[in-house]
């Protein structure tokens, strides 16, 4: 096995990353369709961006506009998300990935790197996270914890009572769940924009290596 490039992401991390990526998209798409059944804000998500199938097909199949399918997706995706996020946390903590790569993080470094980023002066070195990135990763970690906890409070408000009081009650948990989702979508937008700017990061998240010539036997299809 060739050792070109530097190992940036170990396989458990990549597995957790891509499984989370799929699970998060399933959860957002189905969650938006569920939200549309009883919006908490004066708007609905466009149908094409939601997961739950064609409305007419769903109505013909079983007399429901796809909310049933969306809920089925959501309660299947939650296991995938829970497993992937659990693997990510476990690996991040045990391997020292969080400590080594997400720390230290100081307000001063954040302001410095944030200013540099706005002036397009910030360099991207694979395997080394700047302070803005670190803050973003902590932020999305926190958003995932909040989205999962508020989701459990919504799914099982009686069995987990008084968990919902942490979010100001059942309707409060729905609002918090929505806000955490919004934070995750915001993270995804920036995350994908940065991947588009520095495509090498995509290669290294697939092959696990950075460098001029990634291993040919990488698992990308």
């Amino acid at each position: 096995m060739s050792q070109k490039g530097v190992q940036t992401h170990a396989w458990p991390l990549r597995l957790a990353h891509w499984t989370m990526a799929i699970a998060v998209l399933v959860m957002i798409g189905s969650g938006w369709r569920i939200y549309n059944a009883e919006p908490i804000l004066p708007f609905r998500f466009p149908l094409f961006a939601t997961l739950g199938g064609d409305v007419e097909a769903a109505l013909a199949r079983h007399g429901d506009p796809g909310v049933a399918s969306a809920i089925a997706w959501h309660f299947a995706g939650m296991w995938l998300l829970g497993a992937a996020f659990g693997l990510f946390l476990l690996y991040g903590l045990l391997s020292g990935h969080f400590r080594r790569d997400y720390l230290p993080l100081t307000p001063r470094a954040f302001v410095r790197d944030f200013t540099d980023a706005l002036c397009f002066r910030l360099e991207h070195r694979l395997g080394v996270y700047n302070a803005v990135q670190k803050a973003f990763y902590w932020g999305v970690l926190l958003a995932l914890v909040v989205v999962i906890l508020s989701g459990i409070a919504i799914w099982k408000p009686v069995q987990t009572y008084p968990l919902e009081t942490l979010f100001g009650g059942f309707q409060g948990a729905r609002t918090v769940h929505f806000l955490a989702m919004t934070a995750i979508v915001g993270f995804l937008a920036v995350h994908l924009a940065l991947v588009a700017l520095v495509p090498r990061t995509l290669v290294s998240m697939i092959t696990g290596r950075s460098g001029p010539s990634p291993e040919p036997e990488g698992e990308a299809p």
Binding site: I34, A37, F48, L51, D54, E56, G66, A72, F75, V158
Partner: protein, 241 residues
């Protein structure tokens, strides 16, 4: 219960205008994938697994939160797939609750006989699968008391219900025996209005709203999982809270 069709406008379906958006990614990962039989089957299998998980999580003595009476809503939200004026109006003179299945005394029950049962009042929260919730004050007989009165075999696995509007539902026996599961005869001290299920509805604060059948005309005890109107339309069967 929910209202199919009202909240979605099929004509709003649009084609993507290009560019990799989150919506496009979601679409690629499965928007129309949902309509494949294999995907529906897989989702259904996960749903059955989720039934088992929820049954294991259910605490037979764990109580749903109760609320001060001042929080109870008097004008309780109506919800069904038809309008409130189309709700069945049952005549108390003719009404009989039929009993079937593993019950030793299958004599039917009149409204007066039902009303003579011991009753309790509780202020609990109704949570709809759509996401809205509402607190109500309900008065009625714990289903457990009724099941014991009629000699139901409480070692059976399920209790099923058939309703005057063609609705049908069923619950697991642990939920049927839960102390807060009521045959509710009164809503906010008044006789249960027709649109809310006169002469009684099941009031189960440990289940989603659609597992609370109204205008029950037949109650049966069985080991075979009873089908449900909305579970037959793709919703999760157990739907516990």
């Amino acid at each position: 219960m929910i209202r199919p069709g009202q909240d979605f406008d099929p004509t709003r379906r649009r084609l993507l205008g290009g560019g990799v958006t989150l919506g496009a990614l979601t679409l690629l990962t499965g928007c129309n994938v949902s309509d494949h039989d294999a995907v529906q089957d897989a989702l259904q299998r996960v749903s059955v697994w989720n039934d088992r998980v929820q049954a294991a999580l259910f605490g037979p003595h764990r109580l749903a939160p109760t609320f001060p009476e001042s929080m109870a809503v008097k004008d309780f939200r109506y919800n069904a797939w038809y309008g409130p004026d189309q709700a069945p109006v049952l005549d108390p003179k003719d009404y009989r609750l039929g009993l079937a299945g593993r019950i030793s005394d299958k004599r039917s029950w009149s409204v007066d006989a039902l009303h003579a049962l011991p009753q309790v009042t509780q202020v609990t929260r109704h949570i709809c699968v759509e996401g809205w919730s509402m607190i109500g004050k309900w008065t009625g007989t714990p289903l457990r008391v009724f099941l014991e009165r009629i000699g139901a075999d409480t070692t059976a696995r399920y209790v099923g219900f058939e309703c005057a509007d063609g609705y049908y539902e069923g619950i697991d026996m642990p939920t049927a025996l839960h102390p807060q599961t009521l045959m509710a005869f009164r809503l906010h001290d008044a006789l249960l209005p027709h649109r809310h299920g006169f002469p009684f509805k099941l009031r189960i604060p440990t289940k989603l709203g659609f597992k609370n059948p109204k205008f029950v005309t037949t109650l049966y005890v069985t080991d075979k999982e009873p089908r449900g109107y909305w579970p037959d339309r793709g919703y999760n069967w157990f739907s516990g809270l």
